[in-house]
Amino acid sequence: MPLAGVRDNPTHLTQLEEWLRSYRPEELFDEHGRPRPEVLACVPEGDRRLGATPHANGGLLLRELPMAPLERFAVPVDKPGATLHEPTRVLSDLLESVMADTADRRDFRLVGPDETASNRLQAVFDASGKAWQAGTLESDEHLDRHGRVMEILSEHTCQGWLEGYLLTGRHGLFSCYEAFVHIVDSMVNQHIKWLRTSRALPWRAPVASLNYLLTSHVWRQDHNGFSHQDPGFVDHVLNKSPEVVRVYLPPDANTLLSVADHALRSRDHVNVIVAGKQPCFDWLSLDEARLHCARGAGAWEWAGTETAGREPDVVLACAGDVPTQEVLAAAGLLRRHLPDLAVRVVNVVDLARLMPHEEHPHGMADPEYDALFTTDKPVIFAYHGYPWLIHRLAYRRTGHAHLHVRGYKEMGTTTTPFDMVVRNDLDRYRLVMDVIDRTPGLGVRAVGVRQAMADARTRHHAWIREHGTDMPEIADWSWDG
């Protein structure tokens, strides 16, 4: 900054005046301050002006995405937990359809570092290859000069491309390994700030949301190890403007479809969807999934042992696909070993539902939260990511003192899938022990059950070291409710 002391320093003031007058403002502006015609001779007209181009106010150019009915992609579910699907593979049929239906209009792109196929989204290649203008070899697959799937091993570039694409009025989705999306933490900060500011400007038309699909997530990076295990992007994003940020943890394939459909239709949001690519039990039919996602959080009465009209003794809550499976397995163990215990199972898809409704537009009002989680019963919450986040979101709730959260606490390594949850105390056996420890009066009565749970963990420890795989009772487990 030249002339920093201009207000107090008369020499600087004189220099500034000389400098400004050296432009000869009287030649540039008339006596009313209007630019003279010569000044404007080079200026384009109308929408050609750089300050008036609709491309910089992309919402003006935005068209609705053609979204096929989800029935075309949904998996049939007659009873919960009877079948398995890879959720992202099911989603890829939806994405393939969007890609195919935008083939002529070309206003949808899928970006990601290098992992479209690894994340089981390869069905999209039936509708579009991967953009590529550099050299090719015969062994290359799916490279296409006109492709709309974009892969470059730079999360920054993926994010930047997608932001530029969305802000100029198009649609897209960024699929990324969960741990490595942190690379764009500060880029998404800036985009959220942009959206929040834009929402307050009436002349800025809403743009399509920036959608993240975070897959290859922490619990199923057992084979890649500690470096690939980090569920903290959600924590980062939930610090930001509540009117912009949304976080979804669909527990199965149909809920993923419902959430993705919602995200792709939404405007001016940053939607973070965390979903697995490994085979996952199908819990909800499409209709049930739609209702559950609309609620954002709700009791799964079929999974619990409550009787109508009576308060539960304990609440088992879950958010995320792997925690949901562990909670259901724990609920099954409790049903078998402690049949008199009234257990409520709650699943949370939309994490912001836990926040106070004054702080986030999706937050639950207290009466609703209190009815779902109770004000005085122990709540054992199995969460996909870092457990402290749930405390942060729920700290103002009446029942917070009774909330006990299990989640990822950096106890990662290269190991078996089930050992990942055991090491982080998120496994079904530990959850049953938590219920016994925290439900008043249960500890003494259930000492044998608790012992059996601890023994199972000990057996697990020995078994995986001998066999290199999870115990058959784990690997072959299914919901028998």
């Binding site: 301050g33 300050g51 206003d107 730079s154 920054h156 491309w161 880029m187 800036q190």
Partner: protein
């Protein structure tokens, strides 16, 4: 490197030259006015301390360069009758882009209270980096913008994202030489390996070699020119340099360089034979033309350094 050739200068008539210079001077005046003034916008009275803002925020250094690019882009858009978008990367580049928007009228159309007259000019000046006003970066509030010049590093990837599936669009991207040191910007040079000549628009990177960050010289501005050219060629660009310390000569050089980017004309016909090849990139070397022209103490390096002292309250990487 290829400097703009003398014979290309004939593309500017004296009338063109005078008009381009008038636009550039007007934009520079309005940029400086935003940084310093809160009253007396047309200097109808002698300047007094009461006309000066109590806190001087923003970044003068990048403004004349951005104004030069804007002025010449205006001419190119008119001449070629094309649709264009510009991503303004440099930090604290707000005054320049606001000045140009006000000049062309888009600012007053978006914000009718900032009218294109004396009262509006005073409001334009006062609101800049002022409580209740507008940020010193290009921001969502800035008409014509899709990119906030705050954190630095993302200008070029944003520009390519805008060009995708916009075959009729020319996206110019001004990259600050500070920003050019970031990892994200460095990676985004490779975006040209993904740009489909049939379905995507054109991207023209303009490397603004301002020379300085807050407290350090910039790396690219201190490379020998041949090394910088090799770097840009390695990224698939044919570098064109615009340098000079005489405004008219700089306008001619800029116009000649602009002329050589005409192959970037977006191609609505989508000729299928188009293949990736070296595309032009402009490199603009600030000290050679701004020194002495756009601030007091022309040509005196010691004075220049003193005036480049860090601005009060300056944000990261920008003074």
């Amino acid at each position: 490197m290829r400097r703009a050739k003398r014979h290309d200068r004939s593309t500017l008539t004296d009338e063109d030259l005078s008009a381009l210079d008038a636009h550039w001077r007007a934009a520079n005046y309005l940029s400086a006015g935003q940084i310093y003034l809160m009253g007396n916008p047309l200097l109808k009275q002698p300047l007094e301390p009461a006309h000066i803002k109590p806190r001087l925020l923003g970044h003068w250094g990048t403004s004349p360069g951005l104004n030069l690019v804007h002025t010449h882009l205006n001419r190119i858009i008119r001449q070629r009758d094309i649709s264009a978008l510009c991503v303004w990367g440099p930090g604290h580049g707000g005054p320049a882009v606001l000045a140009n928007s006000w000049l062309e009228g888009s600012y007053s159309e978006t914000y009718p209270d900032v009218s294109r007259d004396e009262a509006g000019m005073e409001r334009l000046f006062r609101q800049f980096s002022f409580p209740g006003g507008v940020p010193s970066h290009v921001a969502p509030e800035t008409p014509g913008s899709i990119h906030e010049g705050g954190e630095l590093g993302y200008a070029l990837s944003h520009a390519y994202g805008a060009a995708l599936d916009n075959p009729e669009l020319l996206v110019t991207c001004v990259i600050g030489d500070g920003e050019a040191e970031t990892g994200p910007l460095a990676a985004s040079w490779h975006s040209n390996k993904f740009l489909d000549p049939v379905h995507d628009g054109a991207v023209l990177p303009v490397l603004h070699l301002n020379g300085y960050k807050i407290a350090n010289p910039t790396v690219l501005a201190r490379l020998p020119e041949t090394e910088l050219d090799e770097l840009l060629r390695g990224y698939g660009h044919e570098p064109l340099h615009v340098t000079g310390d005489d405004p008219h000569q700089v306008h001619r050089a800029m116009a000649a360089a602009g002329h050589r980017t005409r192959q970037l004309r977006p191609d609505p016909a989508g000729r299928p034979h188009r293949r990736r090849g070296r595309t032009p990139a402009l490199a603009r070397d600030r000290p050679a033309y701004t020194q002495g022209l756009d601030r007091p103490h022309r040509g005196r390096r010691t004075a220049r350094r003193r005036h480049l002292a860090r601005a009060p309250g300056a944000a990261r990487r920008s003074a």
